[in-house]
Amino acid sequence: MDTSALEPLDANQTASMLEDAGRRSLSVVPTGSGTKLGWTSSAGEALCLSTKRLNAPVQHFAGDLVATIPSGTTLASANAILAQAGQWLPLDPSYAAGATIGGIVAANDSGPRRHKYGSPRDLIIGVELALCDGRVARAGGRVVKNVAGYDLSRLVCGSFGSLAVITSATFKLAPLPAASRTVVAACARGADAAQLALTIASQPVTPSAVEIQAPSASLLVRFETTEQAADQMAATTRALLEQGGASTKMLFGEDEREIWNQHESSIWDSPGLVAKLVVLPTDIASSLEVLNGFGSRMEWTAIGRAALGVLLVRVNGAAADEHEVIARLHRHAAARKGTLVVLRRTPGREVPSLGDDDPNVRRVMDAVKARFDPNGVLPALP
């Protein structure tokens, strides 16, 4: 076996490589484009198993609004194919341009459009897995409605490659919307923006994204539907936001694309640690207050799904400050049924263990891991 990198061509070969690695007591890290490799603890020295050659043609069942996509295919190239029939896989994970299907599923990563479309675990309907014992297993299928057998496709969503290598996944798709409009609102304080996000969520409009930005205290509310409906809902939303004291503008076309690029870029293309804070939607405002409490001691940015209670927080400062922010946010979340997970570490810095796992739940997860990967070939559980 070439130990520099493994590049299997299909599911069977992938499974054989895993089996072989197990026999030789080697560790393997399944890798797509590598954009989220740092999101879980690394297993030290390990072979990289690249999914890049798991790139057979996308099977698009357009009439059924379903597609089976090999794991090495990038989301962008899959969506280019689906678009030919006016459809798409409506995911917008971080590093969307390069992210592969296998990596997106393994990280269960989603972006602003989660507000309307959900995360990979909400859209996946079938999966093909290469297992550590050299076998290939499938679960689910290519029909949207299916309750036959255990849902292993959801099990691997967010598993970070710890149980098996995802070799292809089948998703339900959505029709491409005809038009897109984004309302941008500037508020006085982050807490105001958070409150307005909840107000919008309680209205009879159906945005595809309701994003908050802090410390700038802005809201981005996107509508993706027919042109007429997008225009009208954007107008209604602007009126609501202005009543709430915000100043607004509506963007479309190139300006709209640009503001969404900047939105994501403020987290991922900027230096520092990135953590995901998850709280109840009504606790977003107080979470932003925790960050505001740090004043100008360090640079920080937060963006996120305000109406779902998911924030990405980037902190760029001295190690001690970074730790303090994480500890404070973690305490804040934990006291409110929430969680905090560090996604991206600052290079060269360790993150303190947050250790709030329920030991009974952890035991079940460990038991699942032991059944799927008894020799510990694949990465540790997330």
Partner: protein, 482 residues
């Protein structure tokens, strides 16, 4: 059943909540799939999660299998009891524990019925989206076990998309909290596998579900078509116009007739009817609905009726939801099948079903969720004619084969349970089933939690093969596992 064990059970739940009298046990012999029956060894009616935990701990200690039961409306024998086991009926855990409208969350015990949640939150303009036909009586615990859908799951998804967290008793009696009121619990998505596991991995004792706001507008159309093919064409055209309706239901002549006889929904006398419902912001619904109307006309609709008010809408849905029960009006007995095909294969599969109807001599009614290809053929037979029940069962089995041939599934919403476990190997290979069994063994290594369901052959979990092997780099002290 061992007297000492029974005494302990009585202590765990209180003597009044342990049923042993054969007359009392009859109620629990089957779920809604009544031809599969067994008398449970004992029935317990715990009133709290702690009592469920105590019962499961006892079962674990004494190596007694157990089966959880909600309202007993399941259609696959998922709650079929075991003569040597304990049936844990969860109907007394029926409290709504918390309603949080600003965050659109409700926390309930498993015995709360599906519709109760919507009733409770309706004054706030909210509802719980999954709407199985049995929603008036079926319990949330049962919905979680079966990953229930309903007519509106085409747009809104299944139970798994609406449950945010559960508290559950593991087969060894430990209590776990998986997920909760907030999204994205860290670690593996155990919630995603617990939902739909048909009561074989754990017993849910509490669930937090998310609510939706009532849409601003709902428009429902009933259209009569000269043939199933023409109605099917209309569904394809709606979807290819980029419209995802809230629901698309189809019924054929036999089920239309039955529904008319039972609840008089005033359906047109055509070969097929289509019910199409759009919901959302008024501006969007109005715009898209005009496309639906045009498409139906182009596809040869003979009649169209648009429900203008809630009363009209309810009448149309009553006709659809009564279809199963209404078959009793046109046939002494009937067998309900549940299969799924890719939506585009519907015409082809329905033609095969028509051929089968001719060959078998048994009338087959078809009512289905046309948007997602979920078929519910109703095979009519007469129990008083010797051999006809078996014949109907064989016909139902053949239809499942058509679904598999078309790339579909053996169940879309009723579950595998005891009823369809023999068909699992037709849909999944040995390796697929083995992978699923690993999950089961991780939760229930002793095989006590609803055994004999889902999988065709029971499997002994045994020990995990081999200990963790140390990586050479670990041995050399260069790397360590986290």
């Amino acid at each position: 059943m061992n007297a000492g064990f029974l005494d302990k059970l009585a202590t765990a739940v209180g003597p009044g909540a342990l049923l042993r009298d054969p007359a009392e046990l009859i109620t629990y012999e089957s779920d809604a799939l009544v031809h599969l029956r067994a008398t449970p060894g004992a029935v317990v009616l715990p009133a709290s999660a702690a009592e469920v935990q105590a019962v499961v701990r006892l079962c674990h200690e004494h190596h007694v299998p157990f089966v959880a039961r909600g309202s007993g409306t399941g259609l696959s024998g998922g709650a079929l009891p075991l003569p040597e086991g304990v049936l844990i009926a969860l109907s007394r855990l029926n409290r709504i524990l918390d309603v949080d409208i600003p965050n659109l969350r409700v926390t309930v015990e498993p015995g709360v019925t599906n519709l109760e949640i919507t009733r409770r939150v309706a004054p706030s303009g909210c509802y719980y989206a999954p709407d199985p036909s049995s929603q008036q009586v079926c319990s949330i615990g049962g919905n979680i076990a079966e990953n229930s859908g309903g007519a509106h799951c085409l747009k809104y998804g299944f139970t798994v998309h609406h449950v945010l967290g559960v508290e559950a008793v593991l087969p060894n009696g430990e209590l776990i909290q998986v997920g909760g009121a907030t999204l994205d619990p860290p670690g593996l998505d155990l919630l995603g596998v617990l939902v739909g596991s048909e009561g074989t991995l754990a017993i849910v004792t509490k669930a937090t579900v998310r609510l939706l706001r009532r849409p601003e507008a709902v428009l429902t159309m009933l259209a009569g078509f000269p043939s199933i093919d023409a109605a099917g064409e209309a569904v394809s055209a709606i979807i290819s116009n980029g419209i995802v309706p809230a629901a698309v239901e189809m019924m054929d002549r036999l089920t239309i007739r039955a529904a008319e006889a039972a609840v008089h929904p005033n359906f047109p006398d055509t070969d097929a009817v289509l019910i199409v419902e759009l919901d959302g912001p008024r501006v969007e619904v109005d715009e898209l609905f005009s496309i639906v109307e045009r498409v139906c006309e182009q596809c040869g609709a003979l009649t169209t009726e648009v429900a203008r008010d809630q009363g009209q809408r309810e009448r149309i849905w009553k006709g659809r939801k009564a279809a199963f029960a209404a078959m009793g009006r046109v046939s002494p007995s009937y067998y309900v099948q549940d299969g799924v095909v890719p939506r585009t294969k519907l015409p082809e599969v329905l033609r095969r079903i028509r051929d089968l109807e001719r060959r078998s001599g048994l009338p087959i009614g078809n009512v289905f969720h046309a948007g997602d290809g979920n078929l519910h053929p109703l095979i009519c037979y007469d129990e008083s004619i010797a051999g006809q029940a078996e014949h109907a069962e064989a016909v139902a089995a053949e239809i499942l084969q058509y679904c598999i041939d078309a790339g579909g599934a053996i169940t879309g919403e009723h579950g595998v349970g005891a009823d369809k476990k023999a068909y699992m190997p037709k849909m999944f290979g040995e390796h697929d089933l083995d992978a699923m069994q690993r999950l089961r063994c991780a939760f229930d290594p002793d095989g006590l939690c609803n055994p004999g369901k889902v999988f065709p052959t029971p499997r002994l979990c045994g020990e995990v093969p081999g200990p963790y092997r140390q990586h050479p780099l670990e041995r050399a002290g260069i790397a360590e596992r986290f």
